[in-house]
């Protein structure tokens, strides 16, 4: 047997194997080429800008690495803007989430007629999108110094809203304005979870002699709690990043994080552009933490509510 023949066979076999491997690799990688344009776009206009903020917050004015910017976040005026933003977000998410949940409960299992439900879903879709500048105008017309409710309080009850420390352009005013889009948002995101509550659970509990209160403590709330918390976090983040409403309402004069970042973009108000990046990074960290907790809670709740 000539040795060259078997060598050739081996070589051919190796080539075939290589070709096969290459084709397999192509088959695995090839489909990704189909979403390449999209990925490139997302990279260029979302991931790259976001990472440039991230990098900028670790640079000094000359471009050298530093941790000073993050340390400056603890400066009293910057730190207090985070505190007030967190408070506004938490208050508006709590109030809006509470009322939104009760309304969603009413239209799913609370015995409200079906037309009310379909009206509420449609209206929530509109109201949760009615934000930004027009919403600010609506609240100025309602709770501003000559707003309908302010005047009503004065003439009917003889009560000076603005004499009692209320001011539309500060903490409570902004929180109440945000509640306007938080309520419908809560209705939209919690309704599917309430729909997922099985009637059998209630019937089983009632057959076993549970009171309505016991049903809620032992079954209803444990099942719903992850969804409720997840929704709360979504509302929180929604308020935390809100710029347009606050800008239009206060003319950029309230000391909250989005407004400070906006002011920094329009001119160097912090006297240090990199501090602006650090503030933006702080916001992204808060948002990332929220969305991670949100996804985790969603996973838990999907065990029960499908």
């Amino acid at each position: 047997m000539p040795p060259s023949h078997s060598d050739e066979g081996k070589k051919k076999a190796r080539e075939a194997r290589l070709l096969f491997a290459a084709r397999g690799w192509l088959r695995r990688i090839g489909p990704w080429a189909g979403i390449l344009p999209f990925l490139a776009f997302v990279f260029a206009f979302m991931l790259l800008p976001a990472s440039s903020i991230f990098i900028g917050s670790f640079q000094d004015k000359g471009g050298a690495f530093t941790l000073d910017n993050l340390a400056h976040l603890l400066k009293p005026n910057i730190f207090s803007s985070y505190v007030i933003t967190i408070r506004i977000s938490a208050v508006s998410a709590t109030l809006g989430g509470f009322l939104g949940f009760l309304i969603a409960y009413g239209i799913t299992m609370g015995g409200l007629p079906k037309p009310v439900r379909s009206f509420m879903t449609t209206f929530s879709g509109v109201a949760s999108n009615f934000a930004g500048v027009p919403l600010a105008f609506a609240f100025i017309a309602t709770l501003g110094r000559v707003g309908l409710v302010t005047v009503l309080f004065r003439t009917v009850f003889g009560f000076e809203l603005y004499g009692s420390g209320f001011n539309l352009y500060s903490f409570w005013g902004l929180s109440l304005t945000y509640v306007y889009f938080q309520i419908p948002l809560m209705v939209l995101i919690i309704t599917p979870s309430l729909d997922g509550m099985k009637r059998e659970w209630l019937e089983a509990a009632e057959n076993l002699g549970a009171s309505s209160l016991q049903y809620w403590i032992k079954v209803g709330i444990p099942v719903l709690l992850p969804s409720i918390l997840a929704s709360f976090i979504l509302l929180f983040g929604n308020a935390f990043g809100a710029y347009a409403t606050a800008y239009a309402l206060t003319g950029g004069l309230i000391n909250i994080v989005p407004i400070l970042i906006g002011a920094q973009i329009r001119g160097d108000v912090l006297h240090d552009p990199n501090l602006g990046y650090a503030m933006a990074l702080g916001m992204v960290i808060v948002m990332t933490a929220s969305i991670l907790v949100y996804s985790w809670l969603q996973k838990i709740s999907s065990r029960w509510v499908k």
Binding site: I35, S52, G106, G110, G132, V133, G147
Partner: protein, 264 residues
Amino acid sequence: MKRRAGLSWLWFGLGLVYFFLPLIATFLFSLHGKKGVLGFSAYQRVFADPQFLKTFLFSLEMAVFTVLASLALIVPTTIWVQLKLPKAKPVMEILALLPFVIPPIILAFGLIRSYSKPPFALVSSPALLVAGYVIISFPYVYRSVDSGLRAMDLRGLSEAAQSLGAGWGRLLFGVVLPNLRTALLSAIFLTFAIVIGELTLAVLLAWPAFGPYMALVGRDLAYEPAALAIMSFALTWGSIGIIQAIARTGKGKDDGAGIGAGAH
């Protein structure tokens, strides 16, 4: 559970008051344009302002470009992922969550930082604004298209079409897109609703758009802003109302189209 309906009505009523009181207040306010008389003079003045039409048309134009760009980019990608690359689904889901983590204010900041220097000095080009809008509206367009695709038997339809000799173009335009009509229309109207009144990107990238115009009017005048708010509400109501109407006539069930758009 009928016994609790009374309490439910109470909460529902409270919600209605919260929703409608500001609208009523705004409407009444907007009628005070002329001293001592109720009337629509504030609206007349708004329409008479040349800036109103100019900025509105600018935003409308941006909305059209945004819709075109995001449909061209997102629809084929979503279909491709569904058909050929289910493995990329988690990637898409994560990307669709990211605009929440990176709100418009951060996006604007990053875009300015990344694109104000050569070789990519895009800041003065409206293309950058449109790109930002595509990112902001991406989650809504993606969700809408994705749920539209899941509602139809995409694999079965594409196999049937291809075994009958249809190519990719024929499959896309002849089979998939017509079935996706409802989802596409709601994505389009939602994008319009988001872009037309958008403030953050427009104001920070310094474009004479409708959102910044409204904010400017709000700073200088008293009754015209109320009139603008009412018109803007009517516009939002129109867009979302159309989406809901489409969703109801289409076979896709009401899945809360337009959950919390990104214009807050």
